[in-house]
């Protein structure tokens, strides 16, 4: 048996996801020694059916935070508790943990060699053990839901950016993830295509999906967030309701960030 050290804060009843003292560094570019600290002791809770929005400048650690939660990068220190279980523990089967979450990327990351339908059915068939028929039925339903019912047999490069991102959202949703991670999902889109994706996300929010969202869209953050976290230099610098953080920020860094956005 592997020894389990249980401290009271290991268990966070109620929270679907809890980050405790999460630290992540990368090798500093160009330097032979020294590491760039990207996440410098993050504490964060996401309750079920809630939407937490991460804002902050480029390089403030938003994407890295989502990636470490999705176990795509390993943390240097700290805990990532999913339903109270520390999934940052390397003894855990990461594939099983990842299968409980859905991640949507800034650059869509659809598989270009697979049709939209096959992009969506890949994980249900390989990871969740669905038959092809079951998986395709669920995929068509989900694609219809995101407005792509007529494009199931197209290849990703035959879709517009907005359609590709909606397909990527369908690919994540079809596995019924407990937690949806959205990484700057509209940043690569033409301005007129942003709306269709944000509307879809607002719908998902309304039906009670648990979401952790990194975004530059302050209007969207105001619309969907239960809590906004402003990240600065790898720390949660300010947090609260969207009205507080975006409307009446208490700290100078937050104010400066918002001023730059509106300038």
């Amino acid at each position: 048996m592997t020894p389990q050290v249980e401290t009271p804060r290991d268990r966070s009843p109620g929270h679907l996801l809890s980050l405790r003292g999460v630290r992540k560094t990368f090798p500093a570019p160009g330097a032979s020694e020294g590491r760039r600290v990207v996440l410098d002791g993050i504490d964060l809770d996401v309750d079920a059916h809630r939407c937490v929005v991460l804002v902050g400048s480029s390089g403030s650690g938003k994407s890295t935070l989502l990636r470490v939660v999705n176990l795509l990068d390993e943390v240097d220190d700290g805990q990532i508790l999913l339903d109270g279980e520390d999934v940052a523990d390397p003894r855990l089967d990461a594939n099983r943990v990842r299968a409980r979450m859905g991640m949507v990327f800034q650059a869509y990351n659809l598989f270009p060699h697979l049709k939209v339908l096959d992009n969506v059915t890949l994980a249900p068939r390989l990871v969740h053990g669905r038959s092809r028929a079951q998986a395709e039925a669920a995929a068509v339903e989900m694609l219809t839901r995101v407005g792509l019912g007529h494009k199931t047999l197209a290849y990703p490069d035959q879709l517009s950016g907005g359609e590709q991102q909606r397909a990527a959202i369908a690919r994540a949703l079809v596995n019924e993830p407990e937690l949806l991670l959205l990484d700057e999902v509209t940043s690569a889109l033409d301005p007129e295509l942003v709306g269709e994706v944000l509307d879809l996300l607002a719908e998902l929010r309304a039906e009670g999906r648990t979401m952790l969202v990194a975004t530059h869209e302050m209007g969207f953050a105001r619309r969907v967030a239960d809590e906004v976290c402003f990240l600065h230099e790898g720390r949660v610098h300010e947090r609260g309701t969207p009205e507080q953080v975006l409307g009446d920020p208490q700290r100078e860094r937050t104010r400066a960030f918002l001023r730059r956005l509106h300038a």
């Binding site: 990636r67 999705n70 795509l72 594939n95 099983r96 990842r98 299968a99 979450m101 859905g102 991640m103 990327f105 650059a107 990351n109 659809l110 598989f111 270009p112 060699h113 697979l114 890949l122 994980a123 390989l126 990871v127 969740h128 490069d157 690919r171 994540a172 596995n175």
Partner: protein, 309 residues
């Protein structure tokens, strides 16, 4: 009305005149430009034609009037000699084709296996990974002819009872040994050309490493290296002629036998023409396949990559 090709907006040639927007008939300005383009195209065609004729005639005249042309013609292009040597060379070519197919299939599979082993991160495969690196380095750095001689003459000298000693078998073995290294490098380049974000997306969905390799990385990798892969297989087809060194009677050896005793080299030309006839359609087929797959086509439709004035 159908709009003539010349007056369509540039860059959209070939697309059917879609019924979008208001009815449009070309303005006098457009018609005048179209007429100019037509005239310019006719002129280009004429220039190309004239220059081709001039060059062709010059080449023919130079060759035919060159001293020794008569001798060259009978020594290399003697129809009777060609006809007489053809059956033996064709029979030899059949051996080349069999060696080519077998070596091509075996080399491709082994090369793919080596490339996967080399790019995998499974700890248990470390010995295989080390072997793959050493193997590829060694066989890429040694001439094929040398491998052929070592295998063809060296292995039989060991007097292994179970080892076939035919030149064709040993020759194919040597070719497989060398081409496996080349093909492994081709596949490795393909695997490394797949963007890491593709792996992230697959793993994020819960796919295992093996599933990600099999379902996401390899299909894209193979598609990305179709052209270099085909080039290697074509050159393998040609190198299958090297087994003649070991005494296997392939097309080249058959041609060599046919030339013995005479100073007529037509059989070599016949063998060369046959090799060409096999490889040429293959290269063209690969080009066509790539164009149809869209990877190349998408570049051509990028604005600016087309026919720039």
């Amino acid at each position: 009305m159908t709009v003539p090709d010349d007056v369509r907006p540039p860059g959209h040639a070939g697309t059917p005149a879609a019924a979008t927007g208001t009815a449009w008939s070309p303005s006098p300005l457009a018609l005048e430009r179209a007429a100019f383009r037509r005239a310019q195209r006719r002129r280009s065609l004429l220039v190309a034609l004239v220059s081709t004729v001039i060059v062709a005639v010059t080449v023919v005249l130079v060759v035919v009037n060159a001293p020794g042309w008569e001798r060259a013609r009978t020594a290399f292009f003697d129809p009777q000699n060609a006809w007489a040597s053809l059956p033996a060379i064709l029979e030899g070519l059949w051996l080349n084709l069999r060696v080519w197919v077998v070596a091509g299939v075996v080399g491709t599979l082994l090369g793919l296996g080596l490339a996967i082993a080399r790019t995998s991160r499974v700890p248990a495969l470390f010995p295989l990974r080390a072997f793959a690196v050493a193997y590829v380095d060694l066989f890429r750095g040694v001439p094929l002819l040398l491998v052929l001689l070592l295998v063809g003459f060296g292995l039989p000298a060991l007097r292994l009872e179970w080892l076939p000693t035919s030149g064709a078998f040993l020759g194919a073995l040597a070719i497989v040994l060398t081409y496996t290294a080349y093909l492994a490098e081709v596949f490795r380049a393909g695997i490394e050309s797949v963007h890491p974000s593709q792996v992230a997306a697959a793993r994020s969905l819960g796919l295992t490493r093996a599933q990600t390799t099999r379902r996401v990385v390899l299909p894209q990798a193979v598609r990305n290296v179709t052209a270099p892969l085909a080039n290697n297989l074509v050159s393998l087809q040609k190198d299958s002629g090297l087994i003649s060194v070991l005494g296997a009677v392939d097309a080249i050896r058959a041609a060599q036998i046919a030339t013995t005793g005479s100073y007529n080299f037509t059989p070599y030309v016949v063998a060369g023409a046959l090799f060409f006839l096999v490889s040429f359609p293959l290269t063209r087929a690969v080009d066509a396949y790539q164009a149809r797959r869209g990877w190349g086509r998408s570049l051509a439709t990028v604005s600016g990559a087309g026919d720039i004035r």
